[in-house]
Symmetry: C2
Subunit: 429 residues, 2 copies
């Protein structure tokens, strides 16, 4: 064992507390595995006087960023506080000061990852971010090492635990979206403001990172087609089940010649697909490579302990390479020529739930719209009918077609005289 | 890009053909990822004149081991031929000659892995063996890097595709073991002599490697309790399903204070457990760490392409570190004080299928045996009865008890006068 690596930790919340605790109580084991002593030198918190569950020497705590960023004794900055600024600039300052960086910050890595990685390469330091996607599920190293002999064809994931919990409660207990979100908040799975999760933003950040790693291209979060789970109603789960599907918020990216698909939206997933079985707050990532075939990785995608597992795993890996005086990771080289396919050109299947006047000619009118849009119908089923207002509910599923055609069909149907509303539109995975 | 790494390949069969093809046809991509050119220098085959599916320059082929092992131009020996000798000694010779080694050979790594790793550390070269367990599923790197912050509590796996295929066909189609093996042979999933798979030897080799990596101890294949699937009959699948279980060949290792369990045997797995859902020739590894919680890794555990994915992935990782002039991996340090728990002391639940004379007093006699052995019965159900010979079939499941007690109960029941046979005994997972 030679030397010590000094760690500056930013954030002492759910994740930071677990990281600090492992460093403080598991010293000998970690040092043996890292080949060097790992010393928690300083922790940046908002309020050093706040009472905390973890036992930590008060002199380690500071609310002054410079105490970490400008301390030359600190070798590695571990950031687990989250959010865009000031974290992005902390990471940038740390890299510029020649410090290695480990971050669990999906927002910063999704928005600014390529720039930070370029800067780190120029400064000859490493940026680790395994914890930014999928908690403790080994993803970055899987793509960066294990699957390197492959051309990655597609990555499909259930990567937001909150929406998966909410969709699960809607499916099983018949709750409305609002009720299920309330339950998730009470169970600690959803934030007070759940927009980031429910709206698909969190999943889009994670997909941006996954896509960048999988294809070595710069996928920006705002290039990713994004749709949240807001429009889904309890009845859709029943219809989905009858048709042999579950409803999941899917993050999906797929290779095409010179381009990639990258999209986040709720989708009907066949019940026998592994992603249909992902339950509760679990995450799952389904990868297809041209050599390896299909690989599925499942685990807890969030939470203090699984995320700390990834952070401290990164720290051990980093410490090993610092000890050997090398940059442990190959630098990232992004191919700028690959672009993201516009959603309108993405070919997918769709499910429509349509409220119509219960009279003759309706089906012909609807069939006419699909025919004119070149969309082939896979099934058309009349579900519930209501005698009081003479309406009925139709469910239509289609064969694969460009998303733009599916959307135009949706709009044109909504404008048909006997159609009261296109109440739901979901892609079929 | 600086320099070239010359590869000597041993074996040009299912796996070797795929490795060679990727190296020969994917040069630019592999070189870019490795940061160095990967050159297939020589291939050791039994018969250089044999016709092959792959297009390969005849001058690359040789049947003379020394052409690889004693050629100083070869930097890395890639061994995908399999079997114990002469492969073990080839690897040893290569390491002694200062060559790095990549192997897909589970038998050699299970039996001689610790010695080869020690030798490699002494010679300052690397031994990679991701392909030796679970085909393309990322396992070694997951344990050696991603999960390093964890104390691994247990690893449970369906790690032999042949038996999983066979058990699946027995469960679904009601085939006998012999019929299902015949089908697996016809489908290319089983060898002409299927003993290695059916008898659990292959799974035990893989578990020895997994256990060594997970706990950093030397687990020898002959220390692993091993039982094959030979005794299972079609009726057991029906009873298992009725009780809420699937039957799988499980490889399981679990940490205890100062010791580990390590065992391979068929087991009844609850239908809602992820390992119960592993289908066909698929492999799945379920890991539990104290920080990360449960992680599940699923993929094709065998076959040319998935295995080649792991081999070439190892090669890229190794090439990167050769280029940087470092040993990329931390050397293994095995803790010799940890021993394997004798099977008799392992606490598990059990399922018995018992053919008895259909008369009064039988249940009392059986209950008496279990009581005397201190085994608590969970359920006792009379299944089928046959009037022609006045016998009935009982199914007993137990609560957890030491395996020795469960075995003694089995023997003592078999000796009871009204018991015709204990027709099946399976652990319940």
């Amino acid at each position: 064992m030679t030397g010590t690596i000094n760690v500056g930790l930013v954030g002492l919340g759910t994740v930071g507390g677990q990281v600090a605790e492992r460093l403080l109580t598991w010293g000998p084991q970690l040092s043996r595995r890292a080949g060097v002593e790992l010393c928690l030198q300083r922790v940046l918190v908002r309020d050093p006087k706040k009472r905390r569950a973890i036992e930590i020497a008060p002199e380690l705590l500071t609310s002054e960023p410079a105490d970490l960023l400008e301390d030359p004794a600190i070798d590695v900055l571990v950031e687990v506080a989250g959010g865009d600024e000031p974290m992005r600039s902390y990471l940038e300052r740390a890299i510029n000061a020649g410090k290695h960086v480990i971050t669990a910050n999906k927002m910063v890595m999704a928005k600014h990852g390529p720039e930070l990685l370029d800067l780190a390469a120029a400064r000859n330091v490493d940026v680790y971010f395994e914890a930014a996607v999928g908690g403790g599920i080994p993803l970055i190293s899987t793509f960066r090492t294990d699957l390197q002999a492959n051309r990655i064809e597609r990555v499909s994931a259930v990567i937001n635990g909150t929406t998966n919990y909410v969709l699960g409660r809607m499916a099983v207990a018949g709750l409305s979206l609002g009720e299920a979100v309330g339950e998730a908040q009470a169970a600690g799975y959803a934030e007070a403001d759940p927009t980031d999760d429910i709206g698909g933003f969190d999943a889009a950040y994670k997909l941006a990172i996954l896509g960048s790693i999988a294809y070595e291209i710069k996928v920006r979060p705002d290039e990713i087609y994004r749709e949240g789970i807001e429009g889904i109603e309890p009845v859709d789960f029943r219809y989905a089940r009858e048709l042999g599907y579950a409803i999941k918020l899917i993050a999906h990216t797929q290779r095409h010649p010179g381009r990639v698909e990258a999209r986040v939206h709720p989708a009907m997933v066949p019940l026998d697909h592994p992603l249909a079985r992902v339950e509760g707050a679990e995450n799952a990532v389904f990868v297809e490579g041209d050599l390896v075939g299909q690989v599925l990785l499942v685990g807890q995608g969030a939470g203090g302990r699984p995320t700390a597992s990834a952070v401290v795993g990164d720290l051990i890996d980093l410490a090993r390479s610092i000890r050997r005086g090398v940059q442990s990771r190959p630098s990232f080289s992004f191919d700028d020529r690959i672009t993201v396919v516009p959603m309108g050109e993405v070919v997918t299947r769709a499910y429509y739930r349509i409220r119509v006047d219960d009279r003759t000619g309706v089906l012909a009118a609807i069939g006419h719209v699909f025919a004119e849009e070149g969309v082939s119908i896979s099934s058309l089923i009349q579900k519930d009918a209501w005698s009081q207002d003479q309406t009925a509910e139709l469910v239509v599923t289609t064969h694969p077609a460009p998303d733009a055609s599916l959307q135009r069909a949706r709009e044109r149907m909504a404008a048909l005289e006997p159609v009261r509303a296109v109440s739901a539109f979901l892609r079929v995975f």
